[in-house]
C-alpha cells in the first residue's frame, strides 16, 4: 500500500536555514548540511529544500550548498528557489535532486512548465502553491505583483500535467495552529495530481486531523521539527493510531 509521506522542509536564505512566520521575519535556525544529515539518519520519507529568497533577490540557488545537502541524503530530495530556465533544472537534477519546486516562473510563464515537462517528464516538476484568502476567494501569493486566482492557476497547471503540488496558506506558515483544511479540500477537488499539504503543523493532532479531513497522502512541515520535541516518527506513530499507512 502506498504510504503517507511526512516530509521535513528546510527553508534557507542562500546560506543558513531560516524559518518564517506568514512568509515574513526569517529567523536563523541552523546549518542545512548538519540538519540534512540528522534527517537522513532518521530515515525520513523525503526532504524539501527551498531557497525562499532566490527569486525575490533575483539570484541563482547556491548549487554547491544544495549539492552538500543532497550528498547527505539517501532519500528523495526536492529543491526549489529561483528556477527560471531549463538549464537551472538540469543543474539541480545533475547534482541529485529528484524533483524541482517552481513557483514564480510558473506564474510568469506557464509555457516554461510545459517545456520543462517535455524535457524531464511530469514526475520531477513540483509546483509551489502559496495561497491566501481574501474577499471570499483564494489568490496566489507572489512578489511579482500578479493577481492570480487559485482555481485558474491549479486548472492551468493540471492541464500541463505537473507532477505534484506543494500547497501552503501563507497565513498559516510558521504559526503552528493547524493546516488550512478548506484550502486543501478545494484544491483536491480541482485536480487528481498528488498534493503535499504544508503550513501550520504544530501538534500531532493537527496531522491526524489533516489526514482524516482531506485525501492528501503527504504533508510537509518545518516549525514542528525545529521548535518542538516532535520528530517525523512521532507524526507517523500518531497516524498509525488512525490506521493511515506509513513507513516504519
Amino acid at each position: 500500500m502506498l504510504k503517507n509521506r511526512i516530509i521535513p522542509v528546510l527553508t534557507f536564505n542562500g546560506m543558513s536555514l531560516v524559518k518564517t512566520k506568514k512568509f515574513k521575519n526569517p529567523r536563523t535556525i541552523g546549518n542545512p548540511v548538519q540538519t540534512a544529515r540528522v534527517y537522513n539518519s532518521r530515515q525520513v520519507d523525503e526532504l524539501v529544500f527551498i531557497d525562499i529568497f532566490a527569486s525575490s533577490q533575483n539570484r541563482k540557488i547556491n548549487l554547491s550548498l544544495v549539492s552538500d545537502v543532497i550528498r547527505e541524503c539517501f532519500m528523495p530530495v526536492s529543491v526549489g528557489g529561483g528556477i527560471k530556465t531549463i538549464d537551472d533544472i538540469n543543474d539541480l537534477l545533475k547534482i541529485g535532486a529528484d524533483k524541482v519546486i517552481i513557483k514564480s516562473q510558473a506564474l510568469l510563464d506557464p509555457n516554461f512548465i510545459k517545456q520543462a515537462i517535455m524535457f524531464y517528464g511530469s514526475q520531477c516538476i513540483c509546483i509551489a502553491v502559496d495561497a491566501y484568502f481574501t474577499n471570499d476567494t483564494y489568490k496566489i501569493h507572489n512578489s511579482l505583483g500578479l493577481d492570480i486566482d487559485l482555481e485558474e492557476f491549479i486548472i492551468q497547471m493540471d492541464s500541463l500535467n505537473v507532477g505534484e503540488f506543494l500547497v501552503t496558506n501563507i497565513e498559516n506558515d510558521g504559526v503552528m495552529q493547524g493546516f488550512d483544511l478548506n484550502l486543501i479540500q478545494r484544491i483536491s477537488k480541482m485536480t487528481s495530481i498528488p498534493i503535499v499539504a504544508s503550513g501550520g503543523g504544530g501538534n500531532l493532532n493537527h496531522y491526524s486531523t489533516l489526514f482524516l479531513k482531506t485525501d492528501v497522502n503527504a504533508v510537509a512541515s518545518s516549525s514542528i521539527f525545529h521548535f518542538t520535541q516532535h520528530t517525523p516518527l512521532d507524526i507517523k506513530n500518531e497516524l498509525n493510531k488512525f490506521n493511515f499507512p506509513v513507513r516504519a
Binding site: L2, D45, I70, F74, D98, Y120, C124, P194
Partner: protein, 206 residues
C-alpha cells in the same frame, strides 16, 4: 586495474544519486558516456528520469543505443536499469508520443490510467517479490516510486516483483543479465542500498 561499473550519462538527470549510492557501497564506478569506458566496464547502470522519447533520443544522439545493446544482449554484461532506465529497454514507449525503445524486453510502456488515483504514482510503496534472487536480506520491502508510466511485459516470467497501485504494476524485472527497477533503489534508504549491493555482489567479481 579492476574494471569499473559505468553509470551512463545521457543527459537525463539523477546520475549523481546513483553514484553516491555506489560510492557508499564501495563499488568502483564512473559516470560516463565514453564508448571506451563502456566497453571496458564490469557492469552498466542506466539511470534516468524524464520522458521516454527524450531518453531514447539522447541515447541515439550519443550513439549509445547500439553499443549498449551489443554489450548487454550479445556480450551479456550485467545491467541494471532504474526508472526511465528500466522503461527504455522495452520495445515501445508512449511518452509523450509513441516511439521505439531499445527492445531488449518484449512489451511496452504505457501511461498508468485509473480515474480514481492520483498520478504520478509517487511515494513509498510495498512490493511483492516473485523472484527473491536480489531481494535477500531486505527486511522492509518498501521502495520509493515516482512514475506516470508502467511497463507491460509480454513474458510474465520476467517479472521480478509487483507493486499495487490501483492495479498490479511491475516494480522490477529480471532476464538473464538484465535487472531493472521501476522504483529508485538509490533513493530507498537501506532497502534500496541492500538491493544494489546484492546485485553487484552477485554479478561483479572483485
Amino acid at each position: 586495474m579492476n574494471k569499473k561499473v559505468v553509470i551512463i550519462d545521457y543527459g537525463m538527470g539523477n546520475i549523481a544519486s546513483v553514484q553516491k549510492a555506489l560510492d557508499f557501497l564501495n563499488i568502483d564506478n564512473k559516470i560516463t558516456n565514453s564508448h571506451n569506458d563502456i566497453l571496458d566496464s564490469s557492469a552498466i547502470v542506466l539511470p534516468g528520469v524524464g520522458s521516454f522519447n527524450q531518453g531514447i533520443k539522447n541515447l541515439k544522439d550519443r550513439n549509445l543505443d547500439l553499443l549498449l545493446t551489443d554489450e548487454v544482449l550479445n556480450k551479456k554484461k550485467p545491467f541494471i536499469g532504474i526508472c526511465l532506465g528500466m522503461q527504455l529497454i522495452f520495445e515501445k514507449g508512449s511518452e509523450p508520443i509513441e516511439c521505439e525503445g531499445l527492445g531488449w524486453i518484449e512489451g511496452e510502456v504505457k501511461k498508468i490510467s485509473n480515474e480514481n488515483l492520483r498520478i504520478p504514482h509517487l511515494g513509498w510503496n510495498d512490493i511483492n517479490v516473485i523472484n527473491k534472487n536480489y531481494y535477500q536480506n531486505i527486511h522492509d520491502l518498501n521502495f520509493y516510486f515516482i512514475h506516470s508510466y508502467q511497463a507491460v511485459l509480454k513474458n510474465k516470467s520476467e517479472i521480478d516483483s509487483i507493486v499495487n497501485y490501483g492495479s498490479d504494476i511491475v516494480s522490477s524485472l529480471q532476464k538473464e543479465n538484465i535487472f531493472a527497477t521501476q522504483f529508485h533503489p538509490e533513493k530507498s534508504q537501506i532497502s534500496g542500498l541492500t538491493l544494489m549491493k546484492n546485485f553487484f555482489q552477485k554479478n561483479v567479481k572483485e
